[in-house]
C-alpha cells in the first residue's frame, strides 16, 4: 500500500513538472507548430467496495467482500508533421490494489495468505494520426496488465473517417489480447504439496475483437452513436480457483468451454435541452454463445447550475439470462460436461444509481490555472442475487 501511495504522489509531481516548461510559442509562419505540445492529463482515482454471499471461490456460497483502490494517470501530447497531420500520443498507467475475502479461501488453512490482496499494474500507450483536411484518423496502441496470477498483452489498430460535411463519422477498431492465467487451484484439489512460493503452471487465453461505430449529428442539439463489436475468446476461459460442488458434495474446479463468441450492440444518444439540461442515454443489447442474453440501459441528466458547475444524477438498469453452464451450489451433476457456480454468469437484474458533480471554472479549480476540471461521482450497485457495491470516483483534469 505504501508503494501505491508513493506512486500516486509521483504521478502528481510528474504532472506539475510537465507544466513547468510552459506553453510553446505560436509559430509565426501560420502553420501549426511541429513541436510536441501538451494537450491534457487526467488522474482518475476510485474506491470500490462490494459484499454478497455467492462467492465463486467457495462454490457459489460464502463472502464476496472485496475492496479495490484504483488510480489511473494519463497524459496526452500532440504535434503536427510536415504534411500538417496531427499526431497524438497518449500514455496511461493504472495501478489497482484490491483485497478479497474470497481469494483467501483458495487455501483456507492459511490465515490472511498472500492471495487475500494483490496489486494490478496496467500501462498502455497509444498513437493517432489525424488528417484534418481529409477527415481521416488512423491509430494504434499497445497495453500490458500484470497481477500475481494473470498477465495480459494487448494490441489495437483503429481507423476513422468523417463525412464530407463533418456531421458523421465512421470508425473501425481491431483489438487482440494475449493472456496468461496462472493455474492456482483450491488447496484440496492440488496434486502434490504446493506452498506459497512454488512455481505454478500457466495456460493461455486469447481475445480478438473487431468493432464498428457510426456517430451522427442529428441537429445542433442532438447526436447519436451506434456501436457494435464481435468478440471472440479462446483458451482457458474459467478460473482455476473457482470451486463447483456437485449434488454428491464432491468438489471440482469450474470447467467452461474453450471458446466464446460475444456480440454487443450499443446506441448512445445525447440531447442538449434548452441551455441548462443535457440528457445522456445509452442502451446495449448483448448475446453470446454461452447462452447469456442481456439488455442494459442508462440515463443521465446533466443539470448545469451555471456554465462551470453541473450535477448529474444517473440510473442504469441491467438484466441478463444465465449461462447454459451455471447452476448454484450442489446442483451440478456428474453428467454435466461444463459447470460453474459463478453468480456473475447467473440470471439476475441489477440497478446502479448515483450522482456526479463537475466543476470547471475558467480560472482553474481552486484557482490552480492548469487544473481545468474536477469531477466526483458516486454510485450504488444492487444485484437481485443480493450482491451490493459502492463506488466513488474522482477525476482531475489538467489542461
Amino acid at each position: 500500500m505504501k508503494k501505491l501511495f508513493l506512486s500516486v504522489i509521483g504521478m502528481y509531481i510528474g504532472i506539475l513538472a510537465s507544466f513547468s516548461q510552459g506553453k510553446q510559442p505560436p509559430d509565426s509562419s501560420g502553420y501549426p507548430s511541429r513541436k510536441l505540445s501538451f494537450e491534457e492529463a487526467n488522474i482518475v482515482s476510485s474506491y470500490y467496495s462490494q459484499d454478497g454471499n455467492n462467492s465463486a471461490v467457495t462454490g457459489g456460497i460464502g463472502s464476496e467482500k472485496l475492496t479495490d483502490i484504483a488510480n489511473v494517470f494519463d497524459l496526452k501530447v500532440s504535434m503536427y508533421d510536415r504534411r500538417h497531420r496531427k499526431h497524438s500520443f497518449t500514455g496511461e498507467i493504472g495501478i489497482d490494489h484490491y483485497t478479497s475475502a474470497s481469494s483467501d479461501k483458495i487455501d483456507p488453512k492459511t490465515i490472511s495468505s498472500a492471495s487475500h490482496a494483490d496489486t494490478r499494474f496496467y500501462p498502455s500507450f497509444g498513437w493517432t494520426m489525424e488528417n484534418e483536411k481529409r477527415g481521416t484518423t488512423v491509430g494504434a496502441g499497445v497495453s500490458y496488465s500484470s497481477e500475481f496470477d494473470y498477465q495480459s498483452l494487448g494490441v489495437n489498430v483503429n481507423f476513422a473517417q468523417k463525412t464530407r460535411n463533418k456531421n458523421g463519422e465512421f470508425s473501425a477498431k481491431l483489438q487482440a489480447f494475449v493472456d496468461q492465467v496462472t493455474l492456482i487451484y483450491p488447496v484440496e484439489l492440488r496434486s502434490g504439496s504446493f506452498g506459497e512460493d512454488d512455481d505454478y503452471a500457466t495456460t493461455g487465453r486469447n481475445t480478438f475483437a473487431g468493432g464498428l461505430s457510426w456517430s451522427q449529428i442529428i441537429n445542433k442539439n442532438f447526436q447519436l452513436l451506434f456501436d457494435g463489436e464481435v468478440i471472440y475468446q479462446q483458451g482457458y476461459l474459467g478460473l482455476p480457483f473457482h470451486r463447483v460442488y456437485f449434488d454428491d458434495n464432491s468438489v471440482h474446479v469450474e470447467n467452461l468451454p474453450s471458446t466464446r463468441l460475444k456480440i454487443p450492440l450499443g446506441i448512445r444518444a445525447n440531447y442538449f435541452i434548452g441551455d441548462k439540461f443535457i440528457l445522456r442515454t445509452w442502451y446495449r443489447n448483448y448475446h453470446d454463445d454461452w447462452g447469456i442474453n442481456s439488455n442494459a440501459v442508462q440515463v443521465e441528466t446533466v443539470f448545469k447550475l451555471n456554465p462551470f458547475l453541473s450535477v448529474t444524477p444517473f440510473y442504469r438498469f441491467y438484466q441478463q439470462s444465465a449461462a447454459d453452464y451455471f447452476a448454484p451450489y450442489q446442483e451440478h451433476t456428474g453428467a454435466d460436461q461444463f459447470y460453474t457456480s459463478n453468480y456473475d454468469l447467473s440470471k439476475f437484474n441489477s440497478n446502479f444509481f448515483g450522482a456526479g458533480f463537475r466543476i470547471a471554472p475558467p480560472q482553474g479549480v481552486f484557482n490552480i490555472k492548469h487544473l481545468n476540471a474536477l469531477e466526483l461521482r458516486y454510485g450504488h450497485y444492487l444485484k437481485t442475487t443480493g450482491m451490493n457495491a459502492n463506488i466513488i470516483t474522482m477525476n482531475l483534469k489538467f489542461k
Partner: protein, 79 residues
C-alpha cells in the same frame, strides 16, 4: 434459451434500430459555428474518464461487456 425468449430480448433492440433509422432520416446539416452545444464536454459520445473504473467493475460483475467504451479483455481482476 428458447426462440421465444430470444425474440423477447431482441425486440427492444430492433425497435431502437427502426426509431434510429427514422431519426437519421431527419438529420440536418450543422455547420461548425452551430456546434457550440454539441462541443460541450458533457455532450461527448466517447467514454468519460470518470466512468472508467465503473465500467471495469461492471465488466467483472456482469456476464455481458462491450459496446460501451469499457474493457472487453486483458487482465482478470475476478474474485
Amino acid at each position: 434459451m428458447t426462440t421465444r425468449k430470444r425474440q423477447k430480448l431482441t425486440t427492444p433492440f430492433l425497435l431502437l434500430i427502426v426509431m434510429s433509422g427514422l431519426l437519421l432520416a431527419s438529420c440536418k446539416s450543422v455547420k461548425e459555428y452551430q456546434k457550440n452545444k454539441l462541443n460541450d464536454s458533457e455532450m461527448s459520445l466517447s467514454g468519460r474518464k470518470v466512468e472508467k473504473t465503473e465500467l471495469n467493475f461492471q465488466s467483472y460483475r456482469e456476464g455481458a461487456s462491450g459496446a460501451n467504451g469499457g474493457k472487453i479483455g486483458g487482465g482478470c481482476g475476478c474474485n
